[in-house]
């Protein structure tokens, strides 16, 4: 009975395509064959999920319509009841987009290293005292909330000294999440300092110093209290940082409001 209860609770993850392995999926689908309640529950969940996707709708690139219609005109349809092709890939491959070719294996290896470091960092946080744990989790939750916000916008920009600054911001949450990649290492006694710059020159707020990079990357860093019209900026300052920027920012990103 306990096992059955356990299986039944997979209806939610199943409907969201969130089961892990094919084996787990097969196990649940076998259960579905015997459980009429589960079938209707999964149907209701799928329909609910479809509504979630309506809320995520955005205008596709206009040229996509022509490409799809052209592909349709030369693609034969599968007749009803043809089970053999149920899991088949679309017959006509669409013209691959050139940039994909460049995201190659090297990037994947680098990414694996970055992820491993991210996991170690997370583990380290988890090993700390309880209140720190809940703080770290609150931080992670807040970062997730910004990144999954319905009005989340991502802006990536190259800095004047090289490397990329990526900002995900949510106007409704008045928060942003910062990541950087490839910022050059600084000489001893220098730090990267983060700023929110408002409309007036005296409305500049320091958002602290950028932690040292791991494998050329930093973040995610959560920055709260973003005001309409703010620009996010980074400067190179003496160790310890300054109250106001003393040099021209290496990057400035106007935040969507």
């Amino acid at each position: 009975m306990a096992l059955r209860q356990d299986l039944h609770s997979l209806a939610g993850p199943y409907a969201l395509d969130a089961l892990d392995s094919g084996a787990e999926q097969d196990r649940f689908e076998r259960h579905l064959n015997r459980c009429q309640n589960c079938i209707s529950e999964v149907r209701g969940f799928r329909k609910t999920a479809a509504r979630l996707s309506m809320a995520a709708a955005r205008q596709p690139p206009p040229e996509m319509r022509d490409r799809v219609m052209a592909a349709v005109a030369r693609t034969r349809q599968v007749p009803a009841g043809d089970d053999a092709a149920r899991h088949a890939r679309p017959a006509a491959r669409l013209r691959p987009l050139p940039r994909l070719a460049m995201v190659g294996g090297a990037l994947a290896v680098l990414a694996a290293v970055v992820l491993a470091i991210a996991l170690v960092n997370t583990q380290h946080q988890l090993n700390q005292a309880n209140h720190q744990l809940s703080q770290a989790q609150a931080q992670l939750h807040a970062i997730t909330a910004v990144q999954t916000a319905t009005d989340a916008k991502v802006i990536n920009k190259r800095t004047s000294v090289g490397g990329i600054v990526s900002v995900t911001s949510s106007a409704s949450k008045r928060q942003m999440v910062l990541r950087t990649a490839g910022l050059p290492p600084l000489a001893a006694g220098k730090v990267y300092q983060l700023w929110l710059i408002g409309h007036l020159p005296n409305k500049i707020r320091s958002e602290g110093l950028l932690a040292p990079a791991h494998n050329g990357r930093t973040g995610p860093v959560l920055i709260s209290g973003v005001l309409a019209g703010d620009t996010f900026g980074v400067t190179i300052e003496p160790a310890g940082g300054t109250i106001q920027p003393t040099v021209t920012p290496i990057v400035g990103i106007p935040l969507p409001s």
Binding site: D6, S9, L10, A11, G12, P13, L16, D17, A18, S40, R43, F45, R46, K47, A49, A50, R51, L52, S53, M54, A55, A56, A57, R58, Q59, P60, P61, M64, R65, V68, V72, A73, T75, R76, Q77, V78, A80, G81, A85, P90, A91, L94, P96, L97, R99, L100, A112, V114, T122, Q137, L140, H141, A145, V154, N156, I164, R179, A181, G219, P256
Partner: protein, 194 residues
């Protein structure tokens, strides 16, 4: 033939209409397919973009999904669900297929920092401004924070419930329950018939 904004904003009202269209698509009706495209390409592209993140890949996967809708429309069974649900289920599964493998997921993390600035981010989400999106948002707000977070990570983030558990540092049994309870609450809040 274009579907008016009013109809796409009221999916309950447009349900039968879309079902009929897809049934016509199954018989090879290209004009009906164009109408299906005009109604669902936005949600398809938006959802895939949310999961896959990379605009170029999102477009590629969206095209594959829409072509699959054309190709396999005969498999749509109105007795088992609505046309919109059928299409969005395919779209979500394809998006998840694209990101689920370990290397793809890792590459996605990197891309979130490396993709050059993308102008389409600046384009306002026209459909998202619709009344239905507003209602979905209200219902999402009605979930407990842990439920909302688990569902958005799984559905919009494309993470498996195990990955969601790892990210949040929460036991798997808890995540399963949160997702199911949250979906039940969403379903009831949205008044989804089932």
């Amino acid at each position: 033939m274009r579907v008016s904004e009013g109809e796409s904003a009221r999916p309950e009202g447009g349900e039968q209409y879309l079902n009929d269209l897809l049934t016509r698509v199954a018989r090879g009706d290209q004009a009906a397919f164009e109408a299906v495209y005009d109604t669902l390409a936005g949600p398809v592209y938006g959802l895939i973009n949310r999961v896959v993140r990379d605009p170029a890949q999102s477009e590629e996967v969206s095209q594959e999904v829409l072509l699959e809708v054309w190709r396999t429309a005969a498999r749509f069974d109105p007795a088992k669900g609505t046309a919109a649900t059928w299409v969005m289920t395919i779209a979500h599964r394809r998006a998840v297929d694209r990101v689920r493998s370990a290397t793809a997921a890792a590459a996605r993390e990197v891309r979130s920092a490396e993709v050059p600035a993308n102008n389409s981010d600046e384009v306002a989400d026209t459909v998202a401004a619709s009344l239905d999106a507003e209602r979905v948002r209200r219902c999402l707000d009605g979930l407990t924070e842990p439920q909302r977070e688990s569902i958005t990570l799984a559905y919009y983030g494309g993470y498996s419930y195990r990955q969601v558990g790892e990210r949040l540092g929460v036991a798997l049994s808890t995540i399963k329950t949160r997702i199911r309870d949250g979906l039940i609450r969403m379903r009831d809040c949205l008044g989804v018939s089932w």
